[in-house]
């Protein structure tokens, strides 16, 4: 299972991630991303990789979470 982690120090609220991956990332009232904790469906992995790559602050990391629980 892939888990999305956002580095809150690096993040500057560009908001591209929520545009590219609205299924998993929403923005708070100040424009900072909130990752919903649900497992990322396999069909969204490509979009998640793109969100991570296109983040101007390189704040998104995708990690393989062991155990899947």
């Amino acid at each position: 299972m892939i888990r999305i982690t956002i580095d809150p120090v690096a993040c500057d609220a560009y908001g591209y991630c929520a545009e590219l991956l609205p299924e998993a990332i929403s923005l708070d009232e100040w424009g900072y991303p909130i990752v919903n904790g649900a497992p990322l469906p396999p069909g969204l992995v490509a979009a998640a990789k793109r969100a991570a790559r296109d983040c101007p602050r390189r704040a998104i990391t995708l990690r393989e979470k062991k155990g899947g629980s």
Partner: protein, 425 residues
């Protein structure tokens, strides 16, 4: 420092941190020599690890992590022992009391940890401006050097006096780079480093316990406190009491008994437990034992050993609003949810205390609390969220009065909680 006029030597079964002589000669006369390794360092390290395991000591800097596990993870060697004497909680004075009255006990604990980990240096962190503490430590370190008491070199360093400067990753980073900022660490199992060396950060009280447990054994420590959480613990009591200050009590002592020792001057309406990022506790829970295992059941923790007693006449919402504003100004300014969320939460709470809520206030405040929680690099925002949530619960009667438009009558009075002027960092 003058050696404190002290009680006669304690029998080993009488375990206590405070009240021992301040000078090195008196310290050694009362507590005996420091059991450092003679030849086989590895076997000695195993012995210390087992003693700490058997004692059940956990960290006293807030997180409550088992000290033996922390030591075990650090035994790979070559690190720096960092004594965290930052005590940035305005309501906490226990580390100041320890470092000024029994500095050798804290430094001994650091020496033991350094020997067990093969650390090359002991750095004692005291914030800039707290010169009385730094002077007491420098004097103690000079004594130790003169008498060749310390095997590992000890140095006092002075990070900035900011609230988050004492967070362990901020401390390690300041030592390494001069920047006093918490780091984002998604995996807390990855050890902190100062350059290439491991940073072994321990709270001053934790190390004082290590200094005593190594001398008197784990059973002496376990003779105090409760089986689930043994030992004594230092608590700073303030607020509506005649005798504010630091007391040493058994872990598990009921909250109200701890406050009673400080002579309450008023009927106590609530207690802020754990620190300024702690939890408000109402009268139904005043008999709760001061131990994390019990406090957890009401969403609280022992935190950094703080109890602030609030007089029954005070408005907890007004106090919490002022506290939230103070805490909002104490962040490192790195993470958006903390930078924007904490002032917004504080403003909502202020509107409530002033009895001028807009119709969406309660819903908005609850949403903001949920949104901010867990979204900082450090736990600073989480502490504020927990404090505000507990305020809404414990002061529910005040909340509904304010929701109906009744302003807090004490809004313009002096706050009961001590809030220092911003030191500017």
């Amino acid at each position: 420092m003058t050696p404190s006029a002290c009680a006669p030597p304690k029998e080993t079964s009488h375990y206590q941190l405070l009240g021992h002589p301040t000078d090195l000669a008196g310290h050694l006369r009362t507590l005996g020599p420091l059991p450092l390794p003679a030849t086989d360092g590895r076997a000695w390290g195993d012995w210390l690890l087992r003693a700490l395991q058997a004692s059940g000591l956990s960290g006293r800097g807030g997180a409550g992590f088992p000290t033996s596990v922390k030591l075990d993870l650090a035994r790979a060697g070559g690190g720096i022992v960092v004594v965290n004497g930052m005590e940035s909680e305005p309501a906490s004075h226990k580390d100041t009391v320890l470092l000024t009255t029994v500095p050798h006990l804290v430094l001994d604990g650091a020496q033991l940890m350094a020997a067990a980990c093969g650390a090359s240096e002991v750095l004692v962190c005291v914030p800039a401006g707290r010169d009385r503490v730094a002077d007491a430590l420098s004097l103690a370190i000079a004594e130790r050097r003169a008498q060749s008491h310390a095997a590992t070199p000890e140095v006092v360093v002075r990070p900035p006096a900011r609230f988050v400067a004492g967070e362990e990753s901020a401390l390690a980073r300041w030592i390494a780079t001069g920047l006093s900022l918490p780091s984002f660490r998604p995996d807390k199992g990855v050890p902190l480093r100062i350059g290439r060396r491991r940073a072994l950060v321990h709270n001053a009280e934790t190390l004082a316990h290590v200094g005593l447990i190594a001398r008197h054994g784990p059973d002496a420590f376990r003779s105090r406190g409760i089986p689930e959480e043994p030992g004594t613990t230092l608590v700073t009591v303030s607020g509506a009491v005649a005798l504010p200050g630091v007391v040493e009590v058994d872990r598990g002592t009921p909250l109200q008994d701890i406050v009673a020792r400080s002579a309450p001057v008023d009927t106590i309406g609530a207690m802020l437990v754990g620190g300024y990022g702690g939890t408000w506790v109402g009268p139904p829970d005043f008999e709760m034992p001061y131990a994390s295992i019990s406090l957890r059941t009401i969403g609280a923790s022992a935190g950094v050993g703080v109890i602030v007693a609030l007089g029954a006449a005070a408005c907890g919402i007004a106090e919490s609003a002022r506290l939230a504003h103070y805490m909002a100004g104490q962040g490192a300014g790195q993470c958006g949810p903390c930078v924007h969320g904490l002032p917004a939460i504080a403003t909502d709470l202020t509107r409530l205390a002033q009895g001028r809520p807009d119709p969406e206030l309660t819903e908005r405040l609850l949403r903001r609390l949920t949104q901010v929680e867990g979204r900082g690099a450090c736990r600073h925002p989480d502490g504020v969220v927990g404090m505000v949530r507990s305020a809404l619960r414990v002061f529910a009667a005040d909340v509904s009065a304010h929701q109906r438009g009744a302003p807090c009558p004490q809004w313009n009075d002096a706050p009961q909680l001590y809030l220092p002027r911003d030191t500017g960092g």
